[in-house]
Symmetry: C2
């Protein structure tokens, strides 16, 4: 009916991007992935990283997180889970609380949209920034 998986070839670049992304539990931005990958493929281009992260997200191989902040972030863990973002340093971590399946149903009843999914994003201050808080003013 719809075409979910156009099926992409696993080139060296794509494989290494995927491997590096899978290594970390953080949720790196495209340029952080670029830095990681460049240690193994020094000649890779930033555009290639962007293009392939986008492609892999479309194919469901990875997750693209459209959370607050200025940059998009990527996650090799594709099963549904929630996130928290530090309002001080922008870091994103997983929150291990159960996904509330009933939310989608509730939303469907109160809206004329066709609901496709949902995401919960907490904001807070990470332990590192909490330490700094006492000393300096948070910008």
């Amino acid at each position: 009916m719809n075409a979910p998986t156009p099926m992409i070839r696993l080139t060296t670049q794509r494989q290494i991007i995927l491997e590096e992304l899978s290594k970390v539990k953080t949720h790196p931005t495209a340029s952080e992935v670029y830095d990681m990958v460049r240690k193994r493929l020094p000649r890779i281009g930033l555009g290639t990283v962007y293009r392939n992260l986008e492609l892999m997200a479309e194919n469901g191989m990875i997750l693209k997180l459209e959370v607050g902040g200025t940059q998009k972030r990527f996650d090799a863990t594709t099963d549904a889970h929630y996130h928290i973002r530090c309002s001080c340093c922008g870091k994103v971590d997983d929150i291990d609380i159960p996904v509330i399946e009933s939310l989608v149903g509730a939303a469907a009843e109160s809206s004329s949209y066709q609901i496709l999914g949902h995401h919960v994003e907490f904001t807070g201050m990470c332990p590192e920034c909490q330490k700094k808080e006492g000393v300096a003013t948070i910008h």
Copy 2:
């Protein structure tokens, strides 16, 4: 302890930005607000709109929505509520389901972050885009 309301002067520009934002139930981007305001203040600068939307959000007069998509959006309704974003056209609407207060507590238990707040964002397809769907391919 912390300084929540530095108290800002309500200049003509700020008042009109606030008025125009209050008129709509959509969640306009900065440049959409700029377009609205310019009909009444043709010489206002885009930078002024950005600067003041930011300022008013800091002062709790309006809400800055850091939802998915490429642009930030603003909302004159400051009480907590959830949103839905059309994955096709990017439009953002309110979702009228009760805010789940217990989420923050649950997150606090499973995380070492100091939780400050949370937001639920649904993704879906708005009625207008649903109509188009049958005909054209959604890009």
